[in-house]
């Protein structure tokens, strides 16, 4: 019922359908490109073969299946999750600088994961939830500090409160890792944001929570648009603001926590992607959110390609590449949007 109404409301739904198709094609191309890049030169035909008719006896097939495919999938899911988290935060807080990394949620999740590994939590299913608790606490603290600033929770006060939170938790995390050398060895690479293999249990649960978060986001996308126009408008249109805020917060926290459990703190994906998407599709979050998911996936696939090729044979952390791209965008946003 609702989908039909949506289709009627949106006059250009044919063209958006085509745009969606194009986006999916771009995603497929980026995905295949990502798989084809690597230390070992593998012909394109072999890759397609490995994907569709997997043969366990061929070494190239094993490389594609066991190493490259999981990494590409990770990039797709984490990119989509972080971009959607950023889009939700930017919509609900009406803050062009909102991003799970900048507002301290990522530092909270990272800290929680490090604490969990310090106490060697054996149950992998708990890791994403513990990370979620960390992200939630950090988010609440940042919100409280930012609201206490004179002038209220403006974009600037939020980002600065987030920066203070990140600095504090970052120092605490490093101190904990120094105390426990063994965890330090295990988590050193993860801490910089890399798409490397995580223990299977953590990975499965993280993917599950990412899917839950993405579904929540899609379900509330319509209401986020009204909230982005202002609290009064949203109330006037019959949106229960309180309930919507809670739904958004839980989606954002789940997406952030699952991403951090998988790849570590990967900054700026959630900041950059929604801005790019809004340039194309406008301010209707029914399109911004799926668009951000696609664009975020493509963005992380491409940055990971850069991370693996630019200094080959050495790999640099993907999180560093996203920061390379994201920090200048942040400077630009501060200069033009505030």
């Amino acid at each position: 019922m609702q989908t039909m109404a949506d289709a009627r409301e949106h006059p250009g739904h044919w063209s958006t359908g085509i745009a969606g198709l194009i986006c999916l094609c771009v995603l497929a191309v980026a995905f295949l490109w990502h798989i084809s890049v690597g230390a070992k030169e593998i012909p394109f035909a072999v890759i397609v073969e490995a994907l569709f008719t997997y043969n366990r006896d061929q070494f190239d097939h094993i490389v594609v299946h066991e190493i490259r495919l999981p990494r590409a999938l990770m990039a797709v899911f984490v990119g989509a999750g972080l971009a959607v988290a950023g889009a939700l935060m930017q919509g609900v807080t009406r803050n062009p600088l909102a991003d799970p990394g900048l507002l301290g949620l990522m530092a909270g999740a990272t800290f929680a994961v490090v604490v969990a590994s310090l106490f060697s939590v054996p149950d992998f299913s708990m890791i994403p939830l513990i990370a979620a608790a960390g992200a939630l606490i950090a988010a609440v603290f940042v919100w409280l500090v930012a609201s206490a600033v004179r002038g209220g929770a403006t974009p600037m006060s939020m980002v600065l409160a987030g920066a203070a939170m990140s600095a504090f938790l970052g120092a605490l995390t490093t101190a904990l890792l120094l105390i426990d050398q063994q965890s330090f060895e295990q988590l050193r690479v993860w801490m910089t944001g890399t798409l490397t293999v995580r223990p299977r249990g953590i990975a499965l649960w993280s993917y599950g929570w990412l899917c839950v978060g993405l579904l929540i986001a899609l379900a509330i996308a319509r209401q986020v648009t009204t909230l982005a126009m202002g609290d009064e408008t949203a109330t006037g249109l019959g949106v229960n603001i309180r309930r919507l805020r809670i739904a958004v917060l839980s989606a954002v926290v789940l997406l952030t926590a699952a991403s951090v459990s998988l790849v570590g703190p990967m900054g700026f994906v959630g900041l950059v992607t929604p801005h790019f998407v809004r340039l194309i599709v406008g301010f209707d979050y029914r399109w911004v959110i799926p668009g951000s998911a696609l664009a975020g996936a493509v963005f992380l696939l491409l940055t990971d390609i850069v991370a693996r090729t630019v200094l080959a044979p050495v790999e640099i952390s993907t999180g560093l590449v996203t920061a390379f791209i994201g920090a200048p965008v942040l400077v630009w946003l501060v200069k033009t949007r505030l």
């Binding site: 600065l160 504090f168 120092a171 920061a323 390379f324 400077v331």
Partner: protein
């Protein structure tokens, strides 16, 4: 803030460098004594126990044992001295930046200057390991200057709420420079990367007498500049229009002061690493403890900064023995909540 404002304010407005408010001078003396105390305390703390009397004996006459001699003279004393001096430099840099930018949140590590110095030093450590150690400060100065230039160019001064915008631009530039540093660490040889990482955490574990001499020489060199700084600081603190109407050559003074701030921070960073928040906290503490003109305030900030870093290092060494927490982490744990407090209590917008 604790002192009554009315009586002090008059002294403040009239005082030149010779007529110093008594409270401030007494405080400066007290801080000096406290720094000496912290140095002595830090000489006794560690995995090899040295009693206070033994430590004093070592310093004055000669060590009771060879081990005490080595531990105190080779490791702990230079470390304590470097902490005091480097903390002072960082705090001085922060005090100048806060006055020039008229921004209570300015700090060399928050506006990206320390990160600029870090990029340069890590590049030197990782890519050119053969270079002599003395080049580090020079590289740090170059990197810090470049970062300051980037921030100056990218922050938009025309529109309102410039205070927060300046810091926000600094946060972004710092994030970018940290990414560059991180990439540098992955590029280089593992051993060199590890040594660079210890330095990056703001650890004083590796300092030696070379650093003490270098820092002392530097402090002696910039002392005239620091004494000069009090006059233009007083004018610039009033803002551009008033400063110009008071006859200050605004552009030149501003440039020189920023250069001085960058220089102080860069040299400190080149020895102890990018220790954060000292430059933020110390000037505020100085203002809370005594109402003075900007000249004495600068020196008070420096004294507090030195004490602060010495205490941070002491805490980092003592809390989780035998594990050493780098001083930079301790200052971040203290400084980040302080930053949030400043953000909340900021007057006006």
């Amino acid at each position: 803030m604790s002192l009554p404002k009315s009586s002090r304010a008059q002294v403040d407005d009239r005082s030149f460098s010779l007529a110093l408010p008594r409270g401030g001078v007494l405080l400066l003396l007290a801080l000096g004594v406290a720094s000496v105390g912290a140095t002595l305390l830090s000489v006794t703390v560690g995995s090899f126990p040295v009693s206070a009397t033994d430590a004093l004996l070592t310093l004055v006459r000669g060590a009771p044992s060879e081990m005490a001699e080595t531990v105190v003279m080779q490791f702990r004393l230079p470390r304590a001295l470097v902490a005091v001096v480097a903390g002072g430099l960082l705090a001085g840099s922060g005090a100048i930046l806060q006055n020039v930018a008229r921004n209570p949140l300015a700090d060399p590590s928050l506006v990206g200057v320390s990160q600029g110095a870090s990029v340069a030093v890590v590049t030197l450590i990782v890519m050119f390991p053969g270079m002599p150690y003395e080049l580090r400060p020079a590289a740090a100065i170059l990197g810090a200057l470049a970062a300051a230039l980037i921030i100056q160019l990218s922050s938009n001064r025309d529109s309102g709420s410039a205070t927060l915008r300046f810091i926000l631009t600094g946060v972004a530039v710092a994030a970018f420079l940290s990414a560059v540093t991180g990439a540098m660490l992955t590029y280089g040889d593992v051993d060199r990367a590890v040594s660079a990482m210890t330095w990056l955490a703001g650890s004083l574990a590796t300092v030696s007498w070379d650093d003490v001499w270098l820092l002392s020489l530097f402090v002696l060199t910039v002392m005239p500049a620091l004494c000069w700084a009090s006059r233009p600081l007083r004018a610039l603190r009033m803002g551009r229009e008033i400063a110009i109407s008071l006859g200050a050559s605004f552009q030149r003074d501003r440039l020189l002061l920023v250069l001085l701030a960058v220089l102080l921070a860069a040299v400190a960073v080149s020895t102890v690493g990018p220790v954060g928040f000292v430059g933020l906290i110390a000037p505020h503490l100085a203002r809370m403890l005594a109402r003075t003109g900007p000249g004495l305030h600068l020196f008070l900030s420096m004294a507090i900064g030195g004490l602060l870093l010495a205490c941070a290092d002491l805490l980092g060494r003592g809390l989780f023995e035998p594990i050493q927490i780098p001083a930079g982490l301790v200052t971040a744990l203290l400084g980040a909540p302080f930053f949030a407090y400043l953000l909340i209590s900021r007057r006006g917008t």
